[in-house]
Symmetry: C2
Subunit: 299 residues, 2 copies
């Protein structure tokens, strides 16, 4: 059974088919968040800290950290954000950038074993990213596009993923430390986007036994009531074999869908996490009343 | 592409892999509903009528009709309920009883092509139910248990389903008129219940190309926040290939999960049903304001 082990200085998280789905908080990302971008650029990381704490409180097992701000010193900002987040939370981090120098700056200050997000199947990117992932003993997200772009054919994407894994192995990175991102497109723009992902994830599980992740929110871009689309997508992707996602645990529709899928896949033993999250505090032997010392309203 | 066509006197519904998922309303069933049972037994069908209308208004494409009341004349009650429901709605019906005489009484008064719910793989049941299903040109639900009981092994259930389909064919019923019920157990009692269903449904789709249905609510029996478990189960089952379910469309969690899964499977063309259900009535070209004649609050 493939286990991808990530860690902070004090805490381990395991991604695997026999484990609860790993929710990686997506919020610390200035893309589309003008205020956060301006603050980070000006050296104000108070919102980064607040977002880190809020996501962990909401159940995030890991946090994705991105500092992609135009015309800013991204390597320095990313390193600073990582140091700050590691000082206020103990969850392992995903170091997220499209700029290789930023990934290197992030990994050099990181305490523990991070997830490097990401490497693609592009020749130059593989040859620049994989050596320092190997050197630091990190895990890496493999995005299934290459020099020819993003194929709409899940079988082509499967071959790209396979090629990245082989190259990672050549650099001394074991397969369990490669987490494949099948690339999730907005379903409103491409009706086959869901089935492409489900097909690819099932092949990656059945034929290569690798863990997978994705940017889940992208699937619902542009649609009304989008968090319920994201939620159902997550449940269905988990059913197909997906084992982690970069998502927003503060959106209850998405979080609930992940927790329900854990129950239905048998990875939430005795439904303990579900019952603890949703039980009626007034029910017999309920913990809420005893802990709170007061009768709470029936939910 | 397998199409199971059901009809009332005036309306057709098609169950198929390339069609939106068919929601069969579960409410008209006195099991566990003491008041409904007492009223039906006393000849008061007002609640049956109200439940029929409410479920169709909530989006049910079909309705399941069950009159299983202890010590009552079930064949007569079932026939009466079917006649009443057919007089107030135009959706096709599923005629639901474990008593073969009741199924026969129901089918004899039904206008159109019903779904007969159900036949099992038990010798005697097959030989009594399949002839009148064939005679009336109806479709039938095949429940995957036999004289040896309900197996926990999805591969055994697959073989039972295959045997029922073959026997139906022997009686002149085409495979497209057999809808397999993989049998859904409560996940709180059996941690493998979800994966059993997903595995079996995928095999039934990939190897036999048959449509499937189930009693979806059963999966969440006994758990808190159960409608979200049912909803995620429905999304995941649709991802695995399930094409209809007996469920409660009045539970928004379940209905939304089905509609989102239709979007994600590409069977809700242009996301039209989703957008129509959930769009912001204040958005540009929104129908809500024009119809309502007043500005509504943003959702």
């Amino acid at each position: 059974m493939t286990h991808t082990v990530l860690s902070s200085a004090t805490k381990e998280v395991v991604i695997g088919f026999d484990k609860p789905f790993v929710m990686i908080g997506e919020r610390i990302n200035p893309t589309g968040r003008k205020l956060l971008a301006a603050e980070m650029k000006a050296g104000d990381f108070s919102r980064v800290e607040a977002d880190a704490l809020a996501q962990v409180a909401a159940g995030a097992h890991m946090l994705d950290i991105n500092a992609g701000i135009p015309l800013a010193d991204e390597p320095a900002l990313l390193a600073q954000a990582i140091k700050l987040v590691q000082s206020v939370t103990d969850v392992p981090l995903s170091i997220d950038s499209s700029i290789i120098e930023a990934l290197e700056a992030g990994i050099s200050v990181y305490e523990g074993k991070p997830l490097v997000n990401s490497v693609t199947g592009e020749e130059e990117v593989m040859e620049r990213v994989l050596p320092f992932v190997a050197k630091h003993g990190a895990a890496v997200v493999a995005v299934s596009n290459d020099d020819t772009g993003i194929s709409e054919d899940p079988n082509v994407r499967f071959e790209v993923a396979k090629r990245i894994i082989q190259r990672a192995n050549d650099h001394g990175i074991p397969t369990c430390d490669v987490v494949v991102d099948p690339l999730v497109m907005p379903i409103g723009a491409m009706a086959t986007a869901g089935q492409q992902v489900f097909t690819l994830v099932a092949r990656l599980r059945d034929e290569l036994g690798v863990n997978t992740t994705c940017g889940a929110s992208n699937v619902s871009f542009g649609l009304p009531n989008r968090h319920n689309i994201t939620g159902s997508f997550l449940s269905m992707a988990i059913g197909a074999g997906m084992t982690s996602a970069i998502m927003n645990p503060l959106h209850s529709e998405a979080k609930t869908a992940v927790m329900a899928a854990d129950v239905l896949m048998g990875t939430d033993a005795n439904c303990a996490a579900w019952i603890s999250e949703y039980r009626d505090p007034n029910a017999a032997v309920g913990g809420g009343r005893a802990r709170g010392g007061r009768r709470r309203k029936r939910e």
